[in-house]
Amino acid sequence: MTVLAIVIVAAGILLGIAGGYWLPPNGRLPRRERPRPVRRILLPFTGQAISRRSFEAAVRLAKAENATVMPAFLATVPMNLPLQTPLPVQCARGMPVLEAIEQRLISQGVSVDSRVGRGRTARDALRKLLEQEHFDRIIVSADEDQHSGLGYEDLRWLLERVPAEILILRTAPQDTRQISSDAVGGHL
């Protein structure tokens, strides 16, 4: 009888240890992994804000396609500097915007993976990014302020040369909604 009690207690202890090992600390079983995103949506910008409309389009598409949105800050290096030069002044403008976009995407349940591109021009920076990685879609805005930093010639270049689906959004003149560094939650 005593032996049986010892065996039961030992088995209980072992079960407890095994449970403690496998269960996460909150006591619930881990959720099933979401299907791995297969599509990558590039959302390039250079300025101090990004068009809200481009952002919303990226969110809609990402949710529909289970894609990862890849906001990319395009920094430009003046011709008289080496291409590998650090750019703290531009980064001081671009990083808070990148942070705001990321925070907003995550809060909407969208997978995000940011990038920083660097080139002599915004197009050059974008070209380098596209050479390094594959993107399924690229979303750019064709608004007058050109928040993406890409001019009409650059958009034509994108359409002609880049093997990805290009989504060019023309913003209504009265639609001035943007996402800027003001949208960063907490301090950056």
């Binding site: 920094a75 008289n80 650090p86 995550i106 990038r115 920083v116 949208a183 960063v184 950056l188």
Partner: protein
Amino acid sequence: MSEAITAAELAPPKSVSGGTRRGRLKVFLGMAAGVGKTFRMLVEGRVELEAGRDVVIGLLETHGRAETAQLADGLAILPRMRMSYRQTVLEEMDLRAVLLRAPEACLIDELAHTNAPGSEHAKRYEDVEEILSAGIDVLSTLNVQHLESLNDHITELSGIRVRETIPDAILGRADEVVLIDLTPEALLDRLREGKIYPSERIDAALNNFFRIENLAALREVALRQVAEEVGAKRLTSELVGSREESLAADAPQAVGERLLALVEPYPGAQRLVRRAWRSAQRLGGELDLLWVRKPGQQLTEDNERSLAALRQLASVLGARMLEEESDDVATAVADVAARRGTTYILIGRSRPARGLARLRVPLPQRLMQRLPGVDVRIVADRSGRASVEPQ
């Protein structure tokens, strides 16, 4: 009047004892022309002279400033070497004359100067190196934007590229670096009063390099540079005869923060890097990123991409990306922190421990135990607090 002497009169009053002692280099560092580097160099030269040392001026650029020229009175000035280049006569410091004269101390203005083609050395700092090797002390002047490592940064700040640069190691080897500081407002007053440039150049200077925001940025860079030099020298001297592990604990930097952010190749790491960078900016410190890789760890394609993105981000931000291979993250971090003189460590929220890993002391505590005196900060993920304001 300054006392000028000819080459024929160049007879060394004293021989250099043994000929092997390296001279001492003292550099007067400033944020821009006109802060008073040359003036201060001459003042110190006169003090040395009055103390009975043999002091000569190897090269002086007064830039037509009467006050500066006046201060050179009484100091022996070695004649310059004249050389012809493309039908123009150029004047340079006569290195051979300095070596032949062999004074105890030599005043040489504008350390970053590029010598005329055909000179013995391409750069003046190379002349200075030879003079120091001959046992002669050198007092020299330098503007901060001439330092190689700062040149690009300053070009971005000021929009003006300075072509004459010197390796940072030259300043690093200086026995003394004296910062000649002046507020931007005071420097602009001096410029407007014609104490720096002749009147016809004042307007151009005010519109280009001598803008108050430029000068404020340059001043900050100069102050930080000298603080780092002082810190580095103190650390070096304290390291002699001590264990490297005691570096962080025993010899914390008096001025200047150095931040170390621990990263892993996954997309969320970029947020940590951005936060660390902003903190480094606020603290006026340098930022290192460290990834501790497990020995033999294989990276997936996604990891490789994230790692490349992290490297690119580090490069654009001006941070240094370090990679260490170790099984023990805390030990690797402590080693790097000691080596780099880290004052601040930033780590992301770690994933909840499972199984036996729960029994281990958490990484922040282990780091605090190993690195007393180093701040450890756990960076929160603020993604849940986002809000988008229509503009």
